[in-house]
Amino acid sequence: MTPKPTPGQTGASPAAASLAADQAARQRRLSLLARAERETLEAAWNRLEPKPAFRRLKQPETGLVMVRARAGGNGQRFNMGEMTVTRCVLALDEGGEMGVGYVAGRDRRRAELAALFDALAQQPRHAAMVEAELLAPTQESAAAARQARAAKVAATKVDFFTLVRGED
């Protein structure tokens, strides 16, 4: 969930640094939109007036992503197994901003809504709405769920005592 460190962020030119910052913001946005509930996305879309017109560059499509792993966690790569993923790519009629949605599972509407909000977030008049209604709440609820789970797991932490053996 945390934005990935972006290569070339340090010591780069101001233009490159700005590009890296844009990329990091896009990565955060897409990863949060990918985790937003369908209902949350739909509700935000329903509140939006007027609805922006858009055209689909890639129809919402369900397919597979092969999940790679590494032997021993950090060795040779191997194909572990696939997962279902649905993607959608579209562009807003006004402004032409391209939106991308990649979500786990088979919900085509969810992928389309994610792509729509990715595109809308690039328009200054919608950026704050996307952040406030979708990105920030999703990030908060994910962090809260993560923390709650971690606390339950932490309660199962054990200390094994080694007993003194008879011959000692």
Partner: protein, 368 residues
């Protein structure tokens, strides 16, 4: 040999209707929803995802419902479904060191950084039937206290720092990675192909093979370096953007098995490793897989190949339960023509033997 047959449509239709009725069971009992299966039979769902080789809890739960709980049949259904979907992308390798753990234990070290976290385990239960579940009792309240260490280092990497264990060497980024969903299994099979095969392999089969290594058929003297279960991020390169995005969390179980050391004149003795990885909470599967992975490294590590678990062709060709089930079960399809020819052959052979032995019997009688 199977010969195609025609007819029987009405009987087949009726058989499938009867199957559907039996699947539903007593209609006085409420029907199971796919959500209920996904939430309450989650380990069955995890196995179907692992061996069906598709991570999608809803689809795996649906497959289990349709298959009346038969795991291998459900795995078959999921495998069949996947063939209808296009491949959109290949993920970056998941980073299990950054897992949000639900469980993390080591049998090698009592004290390890971050601690031993039991998580939701069957270990230390008394394996007594819990009759409160029969009565629909509520689960006990869970404790929530403390925090997890921000960083949980891999136990094997701690040993690695001292050079006491063989390191895993990453392959070059542009090196090809074998994919059994695209190319048939060929020998010698690289480690990456073996690991993919084992990740999809039947759990019972791997369990038996892993067990055989412990009982002396290929000694490997294993220790659990670490088992961890939890959520990892899946990052996918988005072609439209040219960079990778973390698009989902999936639950996986990983087992790092530490095995018998080897050494030679040129190399100091060190521990060797076996690796297991599965979707969901699948500890038995991941442990068995790591034992068999290590066993299959016999040739690479200069060990004598004496046991079934070390024989890559034997292990890998028989590991897939969809293939195995299909080949075993095809025997029940009509083999009428085949059998009739065998029947004729046996009758002919018997007649020939009887014809040949008749004069001998007469001769023996005459001699008496």
């Amino acid at each position: 040999m199977y010969v195609a047959v025609k007819g029987g449509e009405a009987a087949i239709g009726n058989a499938h209707a009867l199957l559907a009725e039996d699947r539903r069971g007593d209609t006085a009992v409420p029907e199971l929803s796919v959500d209920q299966i996904r939430e309450q039979f989650s380990l069955a769902v995890d196995r179907v995802m692992t061996e069906g080789s598709v991570y999608d809890p809803e689809l795996a739960a649906l497959a289990l419902k349709q298959a009346r709980g038969d795991q291998v049949e459900a795995i078959f259904l999921l495998r069949a479904y996947r063939t209808t979907l296009p491949r959109l992308a290949v993920s970056l390798p998941i980073d299990t060191a950054k897992m949000q753990v639900s469980r993390r234990i080591s049998s090698c070290f009592k004290d390890l950084p971050g601690g031993q976290l039991l998580g939701p385990t069957f270990d230390y239960t008394h394996r007594l039937l819990d009759f409160t579940l029969l009565a629909g009792g509520a689960p006990p309240r869970t404790e929530a206290r403390g925090e997890l260490a921000p960083d949980l280092p891999q136990v094997v990497d701690l040993l690695n720092a001292e050079g006491l264990i063989e390191p895993e060497i990453p392959d070059a980024d542009d090196a090809p990675v074998g994919d059994l969903t695209r190319e048939p299994l060929m020998f010698p099979a690289g480690r990456e192909v073996r690991l993919q095969n084992l990740a999809r392999a039947d759990e019972g089969y791997l369990l038996a093979l892993g067990y055989s290594t412990q009982r002396g058929y290929a000694k490997s003297h294993p220790f659990v370096g670490e088992i961890r279960s939890g959520d990892v991020a899946v990052e996918v390169e988005i072609p439209e953007l040219g960079f990778a995005v973390d698009i989902a969390d999936i639950t996986v179980t990983e087992c790092q098995m530490i095995n018998q050391f080897t050494g030679s004149k040129s190399e100091k003795p060190k521990f060797t490793r076996g690796y297991g990885l599965a979707f969901g909470y699948a500890e038995r599967k991941a442990m068995a897989m790591s034992l068999v992975d290590r066993s299959l490294r016999a040739q690479e590590l200069g060990e004598d190949i004496t046991a079934p678990s070390q024989d890559a062709e034997f292990v890998l060709y028989h590991a897939d339960n969809v293939e195995a089930s299909g080949f075993v079960q095809h025997l029940k399809l009509p083999h009428h023509v085949d059998f009739q020819s065998e029947l004729t052959l046996v009758r002919t052979m018997r007649a020939e033997i009887e014809a040949a032995s008749a004069p001998v019997a007469e001769f023996e009688e005459a001699a008496q």
